[in-house]
Amino acid sequence: MSAILPPSERIWWNQPIDKLEFTWIAIALVWSLAMFVMMIWWHIYGNQNLANETYKTTKEMYAAKAQAVVDQYTVRTGTEAEKQFPIVKPPAGSDIYMIGRLWDWWPIYELEQGKTYKLHLSAMDYMHGFSLQPQNINIQVHPNYDHVIKITPNQAGVYSIVCNEYCGIGHHTMVGRMYVTKGGE
């Protein structure tokens, strides 16, 4: 007669279902399907979809591409607090390469609000976590994979990139920076 005993009817499949129980199942089913459709709908109409564009790469190849962008578009050198990292200001639409390594994000990019860039993410050693604050956009970063995401910053300001994938003893010191400026228009 209970859940710890076998069902008392030999054929329980044909037992009628309680009306309220059935109603709840129907509601839950509709809600489940609605949530499923929501993800697809957002792919079509939403503006925040994580791109799947990814390439297998090597650390050397990726580092070389990042270096090339830095060499071409560096506008100034950061302050001492910024570890004197190059501050790179590529034109809108450029490919920009961000390197995650023990324990910093390199280099510092300066982007324009409302412009679109192709942000590449890859790691040089362990996995890292790209956590853009205070936006709170979080993306996993793998070594040997080049992940390409089209980003369009919608607000000017100073952003931090916190590493949120555990990467060893210095993990908590791994914080990078990104600038977004109002632009000329």
Binding site: I11, K56, T57
Partner: protein
């Protein structure tokens, strides 16, 4: 004793068969999650 004349419905027979359930419970995630996922990763193009 319950009467033996009425046939047990198919779905009840399925739910009463642990090894069939085991087969389904292993196959579906293996195909949809593991194999499909591994194929996606294996098909990632190489950067130039």
């Amino acid at each position: 004793m319950a009467d033996k004349e009425e046939r047990v419905p198919v779905m009840q027979q399925v739910l009463d068969n642990p090894f069939l359930l085991l087969f389904l419970g292993i196959t579906i995630p293996t195909v949809l999650y593991v194999l499909w996922g591994v194929m996606e990763i294996a098909n990632i193009p190489v950067a130039h």
